[in-house]
Subunit: 220 residues, 2 copies
């Protein structure tokens, strides 16, 4: 597609929000919205059908989330250009998204021009990160808190997940085939490594770092 408009696919579970993307993007002559999807699975399916030049997508979605969708799309097409557009003003999510293969990360609090600019940047092969996330990222390097995924061993991380899933120590011991005592020890080790004193702090740290996704608690 030499110099005709670039084909863009929008992914967001909120129809009204997609309408917003569309309205903002269509003001830019170089862009043309050719497809939409409302969850990760649909995004992957539609991507294979229409092969858009650019995907703009949210992270918080029912079923398979945005991160996983990015991974799958990139696995199918190593050159896919994906721009994340989300409400999460949080460095941890940005890191996850970029690692999964996103080429840009813009928060929904940004002015519309920023989205358009980022879209053009990504299409031109550049990496686009919105300023607020740049700032967050800088902060998280300097004196930021420990990153669970970094300091915890695989086993510890697994136990952390299960603890967050509201499973009792005994249940965890059972499904992991280890003694409850070991679970208690792991629990303690995890808190120590993360520099946290109570379970309450633990849960909130996990949320900040995106280990506990919102989807997990949105429904009663």
């Amino acid at each position: 597609m030499k110099d005709s408009a670039a084909a863009v696919m929008l992914v967001d579970d909120h129809a009204v929000v997609r309408e917003g993307y569309r309205s903002v993007l269509q003001k830019q002559p170089g862009l043309r919205v050719v497809a939409e999807a409302s969850d990760g699975a649909e995004a992957y399916r539609r991507f294979k059908e229409v092969k858009p030049d650019l995907v703009i997508m949210d992270l918080a979605m029912p079923g398979i989330g945005g991160i996983e969708a990015i991974r799958r799309i990139r696995q199918w097409d190593r050159n896919a250009r994906i721009l994340v557009f989300t409400m999460h003003q949080n460095a941890a999510f940005a890191v996850q998204a970029i690692r999964a293969g996103a080429r840009g990360y813009v928060t929904k609090t940004s002015p519309p021009e920023t989205l358009v600019q980022a879209a053009m940047d990504v299409l031109a092969g550049r990496i686009a990160i919105s300023p607020d996330i740049d700032h967050e990222l800088a902060l998280s390097r300097l004196g930021g808190e420990v990153v669970a995924a970094d300091v915890l061993s695989p086993r510890e991380f697994e136990v952390l997940r299960m603890l967050l899933a509201e499973r009792s120590s005994d249940e965890i011991a059972d499904t992991l085939h280890i003694s409850p005592k070991t679970v208690a020890n792991l629990h303690y080790l995890i808190k120590t490594k993360l520099g946290v004193d109570s379970d309450i702090e633990l849960v909130r740290l996990a949320m900040r770092q995106g280990i506990l996704s919102q989807g997990d608690w949105g429904e009663a």
Copy 2:
């Protein structure tokens, strides 16, 4: 405003999302968007200036949240018509919003027509609740979980808030001028009343019920 279009104010901290509302609403002849705001405080200020016939607003916003904004606006104008439009597919939030004075609650996952329909309903004096929330609400009546704000005494609720704010038992005892022992007892009582076994469950129940707002953990 006999039969000219009704004046609508949009409140959402995401500019692109407001663009979506606008795009969807302007297709409806009876509606005219006359103002926008990006947080609760601005919403209150702008409301007093333009006195719109209808306010459509999100709940999750920086600074004073949507619930508080609803309360203030309704305090200033008992007849204000406010329609909540949010991503929270959660009965607890809906209950809070309605109690604060909202006349409608629609989730962002709803199709655009639902939003338009709800807007017209609220303008006509009806209460508008989207079907998914109706369903949640029904569920929460039948066998739903206990509501913290209902079963806890004021003191207990206060302690719960402080626990969630990551304050240590000793700090709480100090600022409340009671013995640490009493805090421990309250902590225990709270968990008992809410039918919860661990602090982890406690935090997640609090999140579901909107006692711990996202704003509190969104930033690192």
